[in-house]
């Protein structure tokens, strides 16, 4: 019984974190209708940024969040304007974007290996104190609590952004119907560029806290994380950022159950989920048909 309770509670915390892992990918897909195949690499970049800031200056991962936000906005804008408007003009932007982002993923990985070597890095979870906290009699490291709260806050922020800001409803207008958004006077490129940056920022924040939920970070971790993220957003619903939290929770609880009861199978779970969902309910469990647009 204790094991079951632990599995469920850990699964929920794990799941909220994985919602954050997928969030950025889903924002970018929702707005640009492109799959950022370098998504996992931006998670890795976030992780490395946090590692070096911690290692060199002892900066707490929580304080890395504003730094990462600034850094990835500065990276995201030029990246968007260098590639995406040109892609959109081609006859098959989706296919080209696959190739482009795949290439970007390879470049990021190679550059990080060149710069820092292909080594594993980690931040000890004791950075949030050595004591643990308990929920329903089950105790967990404090770092889990911090991670879960950060991920939860990310969802609150994105919900608030979408519902209560001018840019937010402009972003939703683009997600709903690009052409109607355009003829309403929205500068699609500017709003998309901001959404792209937000996608990178949320990826990097997931990276900062990845040490406490998935262990060490290493330069080639990106592609696996992209696959997991893709499974999560397909599970929730493609193109609906808030659906990501549902996908994350389902994934998190499923992974915890697998690790607890059938641990040798846990690694192929995302792939199995992906195939099953694609076969049975390609619009996601809670989504409407994402591909109608």
């Amino acid at each position: 019984m204790d094991l079951l309770a632990y599995t469920i509670i850990a699964g929920i915390m794990y799941g909220i974190f994985f919602g954050l892992v997928g969030l950025g990918l889903n924002i970018i897909f929702g707005v640009m209708r492109m799959i950022n195949l370098a998504h996992g690499d931006f998670i890795m970049l976030g992780a490395f940024l946090a590692f070096w800031l911690f290692y060199l200056f002892g900066i707490n991962p929580l304080l890395v969040i504003p730094i990462a936000t600034t850094v990835f906005f500065l990276i995201g804008f030029p990246l968007y304007y260098a590639f995406v408007p040109r892609l959109s003009k081609s006859s098959d932007p989706e296919m080209l974007s696959f190739i482009l982002f795949f290439g970007l993923s390879q470049v990021i990985e190679a550059v990080i290996i060149l710069a820092f070597g292909n080594n594993q890095r980690s931040i000890p979870s004791t950075v949030f104190g050595t004591s643990s906290f308990s929920i329903l009699g089950q105790s967990f490291p404090k770092a889990w609590l911090a991670t879960t709260l950060v991920a939860f806050a990310a969802f609150i922020i994105i919900y608030w952004y979408f519902r209560h800001t001018r840019l937010g409803y402009a972003t939703r207008a683009i997600m709903s119907n690009r052409e109607e958004a355009l003829i309403s006077g929205i500068d699609i490129d500017r709003v998309s560029a901001i959404a792209f940056c937000l996608g990178l920022v949320f990826a990097s924040v997931a990276g900062i806290f990845s040490y406490f939920m998935i262990g060490a970070a290493y330069p080639s971790m990106g592609p696996d994380l992209t696959t997991v993220s893709f499974a999560i957003i397909v599970l929730g619903s493609l193109g609906s950022p808030l659906g990501t939290v549902i996908g994350g929770l389902l994934y998190g609880v499923a992974v915890m159950f697998m690790q607890t009861y059938f641990s040798s199978w846990a690694n192929i779970l995302p792939y199995i989920l992906l195939i099953v969902i694609m076969l049975l309910k390609p619009e996601g469990l809670f989504g409407k048909a994402a591909r109608s647009a």
Binding site: Y169, A170, R172, S176, E179, E180, L182, I183, S184, G185
Partner: protein, 236 residues
């Protein structure tokens, strides 16, 4: 004064050319109806005016400025409000659609205009928080009209405001547009295949296979036998 001038415009989709040296003029405070059957090129002409379709030849001059190369969102901010056949953004609420209509204006204007829109369309106020997708076809067109008015535009460009509506609602849309025109005198360009809209028109263009085949008033139109047969059938 000429507000919108489309001069010998050619446009189309890839290898398929739709518009052939098409020219129309909308004067200030004038209501122009662009009549044509399905596939005549009405929508393409309107889309070229707002910039969704690129003009391969010719010029579009609006308010004295050549806007041929401008992006759609810039044309909207210059004062062209465009209502597509869809008319609204389906996943946004009624209120958000109105706000979106005023996107190019500042917030205070938007609030004032929204209140005015609710005055014109009291039905919409009751549905403020409902998604536009959940509205009936007629309500959606009403919201579309209200949305285009939100930017306080110099011209309203509407693509088939009657499409998908029952005759009762078509009548209602025409009444609303008439009332609007009498009170505010906006410049309007309405593309339609429904001749009931001719009541609104001060000038009529007939578009056929991408070319303007008739320009003139309602009376001139009714005197033209060929056209009368095509558009009015046996009615006189």
């Amino acid at each position: 004064m000429d507000l919108l001038k489309v001069e010998s415009v050619e446009a189309g989709y890839g290898l398929i050319q739709v518009l052939w040296r098409t020219s129309i003029i909308v004067e200030e405070n004038q209501c122009v109806v662009l009549l044509g059957v399905n596939g005549a090129g009405k929508t393409t002409l309107l889309r070229t005016i707002i910039g969704l379709v690129e003009a391969t030849k010719g010029d579009i001059v609006f308010d004295g400025e050549n806007i041929t190369g401008l992006k759609p969102n810039v044309r909207v901010s210059r004062g062209i409000a465009y209502m597509s056949e869809l008319a609204v953004v389906p996943d946004l609420t009624v209120e958000e659609n109105l706000k979106l209509g005023g996107y190019v204006k500042n917030r205070d204007d938007t609030r004032r205009m929204a209140d005015k829109a609710y005055e014109y369309f009291p039905d919409l106020k009751a549905y403020r928080t409902r998604k536009a997708a959940s509205l009936s076809g007629g309500q959606r067109k009403m919201l579309g009209v209200a949305k285009t008015l939100m930017s306080n535009p110099k011209i309203l460009v509407m693509d088939e405001p009657s499409s998908g509506l029952s005759p009762k609602f078509v009548k209602k849309v025409i009444e609303i547009l008439k009332l609007l025109y009498e009170e505010e005198r906006p410049s309007m360009l309405i593309a339609e295949q429904n001749v009931a809209f001719l009541d609104l028109a001060q000038k009529i263009y007939i578009l056929d296979k991408g070319k303007v085949t008739f320009t003139g008033s309602v009376n001139a139109l009714k005197e033209n036998d060929t056209i009368r047969e095509t558009y009015f059938g046996i009615m006189h």
